[in-house]
């Protein structure tokens, strides 16, 4: 056997609703009106939260946070495709999905104001199965694989895991190891790469030389698909199909959702250093929300412009109340960090806690109770 071709592969691209809102009816997913409206509501909600947080941050009322404007479709589409009992193992740009799974916006406000209290919720089940924001790029993809393994071993045959990462994170070793383990174990995981073209200032073309992220699936003997990440119907459809395959024992899938980070990386970032306004403008014209609103209005006849404005207004009012609730919260136990080092008690930790409290007490120039109150306030105002 001389120089012979032994294998062939191809990569496909999915788009249901194009940039102008033109629909491919053959690919349109079957979604109830209620689901479509839910999708719309949460995409608007994610967008509104982002804008609100940006203002709060600029006013010094919360800390640095990563923005999700423009990237509402992949995570909302995926969340709609998921069951309550499925696990969401996200990174930090999936506000939409977390909101859809039941997380109130206050959680993020707390979290990005420096309180772990914003990081996890025991209820509903969908939140108990939503891991908190994970900052070490790609690390969470391995957790997803382990969780999927655990679900299968414990007989939850119908439970699947959706995990998210960015285009930059695909360069990390953990991404490679996660896809490889997932494929070897054939666990029910859907990997969704939000290819938003940038890793802070590093453009996608210099992140990897492969033409697509989707083709990386070939390295693992896994199905891979590229899709329009600003088309929420494509996002829903692709996730749904990958989840169906995963549940029926077909193993993991890699989805590349091609999208764009319309604003800064985090509030500490200045995109003018590395990309042009023209580039951004071109992508604003592909805004996933504009396109989906158009679909709901023109194709589905579900909403009018007035409806949409009303919904936006409702969300905005709702969010204002969330901000108030967040800012009213003051019950931050100063020594809480000592409570969650270990699940068991140890002398070293308790000794240090005592020192810590003593110190607070001295500082407050009062008894320990006074100190606790003082500290709580200091903590609350960061």
């Amino acid at each position: 056997m001389p120089l012979t071709t032994i294998e062939s592969f191809s990569v496909s691209y999915l788009q249901v609703l194009d940039e102008n809102g033109v629909l491919d009816r053959a690919l349109e997913p079957e979604l109830s009106d209620a689901d479509l409206l839910r999708l719309h509501r949460f995409m608007e909600m994610a967008r509104d939260s982002d804008q609100r947080m940006l203002k709060l941050q600029r006013q010094g009322r919360i800390g640095t946070f990563p923005l999700c404007t423009g990237q509402e479709a992949p995570s909302c589409g995926a969340a709609l495709a998921m069951r309550e009992s499925d696990w969401l193992v996200a990174s930090y740009r999936e506000r939409g999905a977390r909101l859809m799974r039941g997380e109130p916006p206050t959680q993020d406000y707390l979290y990005y104001n420096g309180f772990e209290e914003g990081a996890a919720m025991a209820e509903p089940l969908s939140m108990r199965r939503t891991t908190p924001t994970q900052v070490i790029l790609a690390a969470q993809t391995l957790h997803a694989v382990g969780i999927a393994y655990a679900m299968r071993l414990q007989g939850e045959k119908d439970t699947a895991v959706v995990t998210f990462l960015g285009d930059g994170a695909t360069s990390q070793g953990d991404f490679h190891e996660a896809l490889n383990f997932a494929a070897v174990w054939q666990v029910p995981v859907v990997f969704i790469c939000q290819n938003n073209q940038w890793a802070i200032s590093h453009p996608r073309e210099k992140q990897t030389r492969s033409e697509t992220i989707a083709q990386k699936a070939i390295a693992y003997g896994m199905p891979g698909l590229q899709l329009d990440g600003n088309d929420v119907l494509a996002c829903y459809r692709a996730t749904r199909e990958a989840l169906d395959r995963a549940r029926s024992g077909g193993g993991p899938t890699l989805l590349e959702a091609v999208t764009y980070r319309l604003l800064m990386h985090t509030t500490a970032d200045d995109p003018r250093k590395y990309r042009s306004e023209a580039d951004e403008q071109a992508w604003w014209r592909k805004d996933p929300l504009v396109r989906f609103r158009k679909y709901l209005k023109e194709v589905k006849g579900l909403l009018t412009d007035a409806d949409i404005e009303r919904i936006q207004h409702e969300i905005s009012e709702e969010n204002k109340q969330h901000v108030q609730a967040f800012e009213a919260r003051k019950d931050f136990k100063p020594d809480a960090s000592f409570d969650f080092v270990f699940g068991t008690r140890h002398a070293v930790i308790e000794e240090q806690r005592a020192l810590f409290l003593q110190d607070l007490a001295r500082r407050a120039g009062a008894g320990e109770d006074g100190a606790r109150t003082a500290a709580r306030e200091e903590a609350a105002h960061g």
């Binding site: 772990e116 391995l142 997803a144 694989v145 655990a150 996660a178 383990f181 699940g343």
Partner: protein
């Protein structure tokens, strides 16, 4: 009750914990069909099958990272790093996630997992197969570090580690693996994590040691006791972090003299923390500087030279004598 070496004792712990709790899974490189490169996992794969005794692809970060996921998903993973020298590839997952999950989520999620690994020198091994780097793990808040010294303790501590609600780095002194046997009860035995063990009671001086170093320490102690007619106290640290500071302090308060023996390089090590604890809690009773008998701050020599660098009975004995003689 059977006489077991440390490999067999660890194996017994794994066998019985897998039997007791279906959530316990074992994973790592060559831990299944091959039963581990040291045969620590002998019989597990045959008994519990490939789903619970998992031969993984070759990637340490993935072994720990998926273990974290398994723990989040309700399992009790016991992950093996084939040698501690490869565990650095998993530190990102340990420091960045396992150690913090409880704090990050205010206790809602936690990572009950064990990262087992053979460590230490003296077995004529290749590069990266002989280090003692417990200090690296001990400094990470949220991580427990346990090092057994004998078969019976290894078994009882591993059982505790598996049942522990937090990530435990369990370092096995491979030089002790087959060095001797000890009676190990068939029935369940659990030792509490966080407690040191006073293995010899004495009044003249305290020796603190752990892992493989306990044995040359005991030999040195026996010799000095016989020659000098003094009683020396020996503390087997067992849990490196969180350290049993009160046990160390109480002993040195009593004896006033201390020698710390470790296989690790000298600087920024566990012995320094033992000295710091003595400084905090027993300085006023101290009658002589604490002596450290350690490896040196050099990249571990290959085995042609290694035995010149690892503390032995001779060096330990001399340090004890000099500390006793200090006036």
């Amino acid at each position: 009750m059977a006489k077991l070496n440390m490999v067999q004792a660890i194996n017994l712990a794994l066998m019985q914990e897998m039997e007791r709790d279906p959530a316990v899974v074992v994973l790592g490189e060559d831990v299944g069909v091959n039963e581990g490169v040291f045969r620590v996992t002998a019989g597990l794969h045959r008994k519990y099958g490939a789903e619970r005794v998992i031969d993984t692809p070759l990637a340490e970060s993935a072994i720990l990272g998926t273990s974290i996921g398994m723990a989040l998903g309700g399992l009790r993973p016991v992950a093996e790093m084939q040698f501690s020298g490869f565990s650095y590839l998993a530190i990102g997952q340990l420091e960045g996630n396992a150690s913090r999950m409880r704090a990050r989520t205010r206790g809602l999620f936690s990572c009950p997992l064990v990262m087992r690994m053979p460590y230490g020198g003296g077995v004529r091994a290749l590069e990266h197969h002989s280090e003692s780097r417990e200090a690296t793990y001990a400094h990470f808040p949220g991580v427990k570090v346990v090092i057994p010294s004998t078969p019976r303790k290894a078994r009882a501590l591993l059982v505790a580690a598996i049942r522990d609600p937090d990530p435990v780095v369990f370092m096995e002194p491979k030089r002790v693996y087959r060095a001797f046997r000890e009676e190990v009860p068939d029935e369940e035995e659990v030792m509490e994590i966080g407690r040191a063990d006073v293995v010899r009671e004495g009044t003249a001086l305290t020796v603190v040691a752990w892992g493989a170093m306990l044995h040359p320490t005991l030999a040195a102690v026996d010799r000095v006791q016989a020659e000098r007619g003094v009683r020396l106290e020996v503390i087997d640290l067992l849990t490196i972090a969180p350290m049993d500071v009160n046990a160390v302090a109480a002993s040195v308060q009593k004896t006033g003299r201390c020698v710390v023996v470790q296989e690790a390089p000298r600087s920024f090590s566990v012995s320094a923390e033992v000295i710091a604890v003595i400084n905090d809690k027993a300085l006023m009773q101290l009658e002589a500087p604490v002596r450290r008998v350690t490896h040196y701050d050099v990249p571990t020599p290959y085995f042609g030279r290694e035995m010149l660098y690892i503390p032995d009975e001779d060096r330990i004995g001399r340090a004890i004598e000099e500390t006793l003689d200090f006036a």
